[in-house]
Each structure stands twice: as structure tokens, then as C-alpha cells.
């Protein structure tokens, strides 16, 4: 009788959930959100500072300063990843370090470092985008749909 067996297993799972829940610590949503806000915000402020630097000292136009700024942030993130520090900051800061571009750079750099032992082509090349690949795929898909909506809706208001 597979049906009753399934039901019994379900029932046992439900009972167990109650017991296990008593001993599982609750995720600290508020404190994690606060840390993410502060750290993520600080990274953005750092980015703004770098951008201002490029505008003031290197003669970039404000709308063109974004590219070297992103490159600088990516460089810092990869350097910290290579030095083995970024994952420790990430454990403390959570989404604060994973959402900004630095987190994206870390996901690529850490995968590349990790798979170096399997060679440059199959290891580094094949695995670099193991984590970042999903972001690129769904980022592109989202951009495609936003693009269609943009093309269809904007003319209505013109």
C-alpha cells in the first residue's frame, strides 16, 4: 500500500519538523539586513568616491567615469578574493557584499582560482562562470523583456 506508506512518511516528517525547529536557530533577518545595508551602502559610496576621483583628477566626463569605476571595484574585489579576505567579509556582510558588482567579480574570481588545478582550458575557462553564469543568463533574459516593454509602451506616451 504505497499510499498509506507515503502518508505515514509525511506524518513523520511533519512531527519531526516540529522537534527539529525547536533546536534550529532562527536566521537573524534584521541584523543581517542592517549589515547588508551598511556594507552594501559603503561599497556604493566607495564607488562614488572613485568615480569623483576619475572626474576630478583624470578628466573623465561624469557620464563616462562609470567604466573605470566599475573596473577599479572589480580589481579590488578580485584582489581581496585572491588574498583570501573577501569570503570572510562576505560571511559577515551577507548580501551587502554579494549584490554589488564586487560580489559578481568575487563569484567569477573565486571559481577561476578554485579550478586552476584542473588546467587553464577545462578548469579556469570551463568553470569561471559556474556561479556568475546564472546571473548573466537571467540578466540578459530580463533585459530582453524590459527592452520589449520599453519599445511597446514608450510610443504610447509620445
Amino acid at each position: 500500500m504505497p499510499d498509506t506508506n507515503d502518508q505515514m512518511q509525511k506524518q513523520r516528517e511533519e512531527q519531526y519538523k516540529v522537534i527539529a525547529k525547536k533546536h534550529q536557530p532562527k536566521p537573524k533577518v534584521w541584523i543581517n539586513s542592517l549589515k547588508a545595508f551598511v556594507v552594501g551602502g559603503s561599497i556604493c559610496m566607495l564607488g562614488q568616491g572613485i568615480s569623483n576621483m576619475y572626474v576630478t583628477f583624470f578628466g573623465f566626463k561624469p557620464e563616462k567615469a562609470g567604466d573605470p569605476t566599475v573596473a577599479t571595484l572589480i580589481f579590488i574585489s578580485c584582489l581581496l578574493t585572491g588574498l583570501g579576505v573577501y569570503d570572510k567579509i562576505g560571511q559577515w556582510a551577507g548580501a551587502g557584499t554579494s549584490v554589488p558588482v564586487t560580489g559578481f567579480a568575487n563569484s567569477i574570481c573565486s571559481a577561476a582560482l578554485e579550478h586552476q588545478s584542473e588546467g587553464y582550458v577545462l578548469g579556469v575557462g570551463g568553470n569561471m562562470f559556474k556561479l556568475a553564469g546564472a546571473v548573466i543568463v537571467f540578466g540578459t533574459v530580463a533585459a530582453f523583456f524590459v527592452g520589449i516593454i520599453h519599445t511597446l509602451i514608450i510610443p504610447i506616451f509620445q
Binding site: 527539529a20 534550529q24 569570503d87 551577507g94 548580501a95 578554485e114
Partner: protein, 339 residues
């Protein structure tokens, strides 16, 4: 069936004088700085252990443990008739490579983190049955090799929840033979695969506790023993979440685990080491048992010990496909002579 060694549902009783002839524990840097640092035979202060890759480092630690155990037993590798080993990596690769180095007839076994007691109980069985004069059981795990296989790249900055566990780096080995004065293997209880619907790979303690409870309950029923018959009962790697769940599950079945109950995952590291809920991995139960516990038994601090190694038998693909984590636990009762 006459002369049967099976008692109750799934326990084996060893009637020959099956004893651990020698054991060895090799630890990584974090473990070497932990609470049991005095009990390891060898400590590597670098995760690479002088090798080029982490995989080679894990293999090296297993080879070191095996060679140290053989040396401590005053034997040569030619005198060992069979080598049983397991680890956490795909295709049991560390175990196979270590067997290549040792040139001992080899049986690879996989029971995830429960491999330590799985290999030990089968090694004891082979000696009991007369298939081997000396059998060697060994396991290894390495934090970085496990991390990259089961989770993310080691330098990836994703946040882990407090329920996560830290895969211990190290290896343990034990040599089983007949006679001598070492700790005697009395019973082994082989577990069944259990899951109660836990799917979160960052919460192995909750996933494995029911398997441990089931095996311990079976062990007590099969042997007629009670928790208080043991001076020490240890689980392999339930850590700070799984251990209290296990206590509650067993107490619901009428077995009270008192002060004598401990968890290897909570014994390895000191308070200030950042290991989330506690240690895990094949090395967790192996380095604690083959180092600390057996040493304490030789000193007659503990007379009867029950080691319950717990294993989460998931694969990286199974949990991505939404399957629950299948878990198992194997128990071995080890005792010193009363004198």
C-alpha cells in the same frame, strides 16, 4: 543458523578476540589548533600539506594515517591482508589513490561521514570470519575538497547560515586483528537509510539526527544494553543542532542520554574557532575516535564506548533536484577489559 553472529535486527556480535591493534589520527591546521590537539599523531599546519592541490593533500593525510597506524602496530604493509577505506570525494578517489600507494588489497567503501565506523565494522567482520589476519580501516576528509565538491568555491563570499557545519580536515586509520591488549570491538550495528524530509544541505545536523536515533535505538534493543551501560557515547558529526535533536528523539523512545553523551563535531574545535554549528566530515568521527577516544581508553579513562558515525549520503545533484537528504548511521561498541 548455528554459530550466528547476528543479534536482533541488525547488530553483529564479535566472538573472537577482535581488537584494535593500533590507530592513528592526522589533523589539518584548524583541527591542530583545536581542543584535542594533543591527541593527534601528526598535524599539518598548512591545508596543502606540502602538496600541489588540496586533493593531493587529503590523500597524503590518509597515507600518513595508514603508515603511522601500521608502524604503531609494529607491522609491515605486507602483513595487512585487506585495506578498507572511504572519503567524501567523487568516486572515492582519495581512498583509491591511498590504496595505490600502500599496495594492500583494497575495498573502497562509501558511507559519507559514517565511513569511519562502516570501514571499522566491516574490517572487524573480515577478521572475525578469518578472511584477514589484520585488516586496516581508514577514512579522510578535507575542508577545501569537500567545500568545492558539495558547495561553492572556497573563496566565494556567500553567507552561510549558523546551521552549516565545517568539514574537518584530516584522516584516521585503525588496524584490526585478533588478540593483544588494545580496545576490543564487541558489537557493530549497521544502520538503515533514513530521511525525514530535510532538504537543506546547510543543515546536516537536523537531517542526520533521525538516522543516528534509529541506529542507537536498534543497538540498544538488539544488545539489551542501555545508554548508562556506556561511559561514553559519541556521534560523529551532529554538531550543536543535531545533538540536542538526537537527545530529544531518543528520550521520546525512552532512552535518556546523560552527561556521557558527546558529539565529535563539538569536541574538535575550541569556542573561538569559526565553525558554525560544529565539525563534520569523515575526519570528524575518525580523528576523535582514532586519536582522543582510543588513547583515553588505553588509559582506562573510558571502559565502554559507543561510537555512532553519522553520514549524509547526498550528492550535489540530488539536492539540486530537490531530493531530501538520505542519512545513515553506524554504531560500533568498543570496550577495554575489566581489570
Amino acid at each position: 543458523m548455528q554459530n550466528t553472529r547476528k543479534i536482533g535486527k541488525s547488530s553483529w556480535v564479535f566472538k573472537e578476540n577482535i581488537r584494535i591493534q593500533a590507530s592513528a589520527a592526522v589533523a589539518g591546521p584548524m583541527e591542530g589548533n583545536g581542543k584535542l590537539s594533543h591527541s593527534y599523531d601528526l598535524i599539518y599546519d598548512n591545508l596543502y600539506a606540502g602538496q600541489d592541490t588540496w586533493e593531493q593533500a587529503e590523500r597524503k593525510m590518509l597515507e600518513d594515517a595508514v603508515e603511522t597506524a601500521i608502524k604503531k602496530a609494529d607491522l609491515t604493509s605486507e602483513e595487512i591482508d585487506v585495506y578498507l577505506a572511504g572519503d567524501l570525494l567523487n568516486q572515492n578517489i582519495s581512498a583509491s589513490f591511498s590504496a595505490k600507494a600502500e599496495k594492500i588489497p583494497f575495498i573502497g567503501m562509501y558511507g559519507a561521514c559514517s565511513s569511519s565506523m562502516l570501514t571499522l565494522s566491516v574490517a572487524a567482520t573480515l577478521v572475525e570470519g578469518g578472511f584477514a589476519r589484520y585488516a586496516l580501516a581508514g577514512v579522510s576528509s578535507h575542508n577545501c575538497t569537500a567545500e568545492r565538491q558539495y558547495r561553492y568555491p572556497t573563496e566565494y563570499g556567500g553567507q552561510k547560515p549558523n546551521t552549516a557545519q565545517w568539514t574537518a580536515t584530516g584522516a584516521g586509520a585503525a588496524i584490526i586483528g585478533i588478540g593483544g591488549t588494545g580496545p576490543r570491538i564487541q558489537y557493530a550495528t549497521i544502520g538503515i537509510v533514513t530521511d525525514l524530509g530535510i532538504k537543506n544541505p546547510f543543515d546536516m545536523g537536523s537531517a542526520m539526527a533521525p538516522a543516528a536515533a534509529k541506529t542507537m535505538q536498534t543497538h540498544f534493543e538488539d544488545t539489551g544494553r542501555k545508554p548508562k551501560d556506556y561511559d561514553l557515547i559519541v556521534t560523529g558529526d551532529l554538531a550543536s543542532i543535531g545533538a540536542p535533536i538526537l537527545k530529544e528523539l531518543l528520550s521520546n523512545e525512552g532512552y535518556k542520554l546523560g552527561e556521557q553523551y558527546q558529539d565529535c563535531g563539538l569536541m574538535i574545535y575550541s569556542q573561538d574557532q569559526e565553525v558554525f554549528a560544529g565539525g563534520s566530515g569523515c575526519a570528524s568521527s575518525a580523528i576523535v575516535t582514532y586519536g582522543h577516544i582510543l588513547q583515553q581508553m588505553m588509559l582506562k579513562k573510558y571502559k565502554k564506548v559507543l561510537v555512532v558515525a553519522t553520514g549524509a549520503l547526498l550528492s550535489p545533484i540530488s539536492y539540486q533536484q530537490g531530493e531530501p537528504i538520505p542519512c545513515i548511521a553506524h554504531a560500533v561498541a568498543i570496550e577495554m577489559d575489566e581489570t
